[in-house]
Amino acid sequence: MDKQDMHTQTTKGFANEQLTMLSDDALLDQFFAEARQPVADNGFTERVVASLPAHTVCSLRCLSTALNIFTVVAGVALLIYLGFFTRIADFYEMMIARIISGIQHFDADAMLVQTILFIHRVPDMLPSATQIIAIGATMIILTTLALQRFVKQI
């Protein structure tokens, strides 16, 4: 028996053993089961990565750097335009002045009254829709910057 005959017999024997009088779909399903075997990577991924064209990487990195610079400049410009830094400075100045004033004129009765009034007025002190939008926009910009820095580190 030559090599060719042996192979044919093996194939047909295997087939006969496995598949007996099946419908078209069942027959094909069993026949194709062998073709669905997992394919090992065997260094394929490394070969692909090693052959990636460099110019595309460069252009993407340039785009990434440009995007970072643009986001930072736009974020800072927006904060200056909204007067964010001035307001922060004013706020701290006012806070310090009030603390000093409070220490100088401490009055327990007045403090109690002020506390009750403060609690009573809390609902009126909630921010307006415009303020929420402005705070939200600032938060988004700051989060984007933080995320970009985080992803870049990865």
Binding site: K3, Q4, M6, H7, T8, Q9, T10, T11, K12, G13, F14, A15, N16, L19, T20, M21, L22, D24, D25, L27, L28, D29, F31, F32, E34, A35, R36, P38, V39, D41, F44, T45, E46, R47, V48, V49, S51, L52, P53, T56, V57, C58, S59, L60, R61, L63, S64, L67, V151, K152, I154
Partner: protein, 190 residues
């Protein structure tokens, strides 16, 4: 729709040109792409790997154009299929060896002279698989591989091949019938 992990990796590749993220995408999808191309090339593993490598490089270059309308794997398979068609247009002889072999085999499924071992029934079955597929026309073969081997739906097959869904259904029906007849004629199914 693309998987969330794929989207995160694609975003890293597009924004930062991350080769590490792209390597993860290749590792996750190389199996389907290479298996598809092996069957399309009639079992030529080396040619299939070359084509798969070319397909992944094209994917790397064109990742910005991925819109997420289909899964990333379907998008990759489409590129792989186009790479295969381009190769066949350039070198028709490279991808038609198995077809010629099948046509020359009057008695249906037979072993070539290069059979590694007669006891290796798995190898023999794989070879028979390629011979059986070679009896189908190009469109029937592609549709059958995508559905029966890769388990893809009609919609995905339409995206990959660019064929109409009804045309695909008729290719699948005719292809399965022809393939089953061919297999029965050659000793399968008792």
């Amino acid at each position: 729709m693309p998987r969330l992990s794929d989207i995160a990796l694609i975003a890293q590749v597009v924004t930062f040109g991350s080769e590490r993220a792209f390597a993860q995408l290749v590792r996750a999808h190389q199996e389907a792409v290479r298996r598809f191309l092996v069957r399309l090339t009639g079992g030529d593993q080396m040619l299939a790997d070359d084509l798969a490598q070319e397909a992944f490089i094209r994917a790397w270059q064109g990742l910005k154009s991925f819109r997420g309308g289909s899964s990333f794997e379907t998008w990759l398979m489409k590129i792989a299929y186009r790479t295969f068609l381009d190769e066949r247009r350039k070198n028709p002889s490279d991808t038609s060896t198995i077809e010629l072999e099948a046509k020359l085999t009057d008695d249906g499924i037979q072993s070539p002279g290069t059979t590694p071992s007669p006891s290796d029934s798995r190898w023999a079955l794989k070879h028979d698989l390629d011979l059986a597929l070679a009896t189908l026309n190009d469109n029937e073969r592609t549709c059958i591989i995508l559905q029966c081997v890769e388990g893809m739906g009609i919609k995905d097959i339409a995206t990959i091949t660019g064929l109409n869904e009804n045309t695909i259904k008729s290719h699948l029906l005719r292809g399965k019938k022809n393939l089953a007849n061919y297999l029965r004629k050659n000793g399968y199914n008792g």
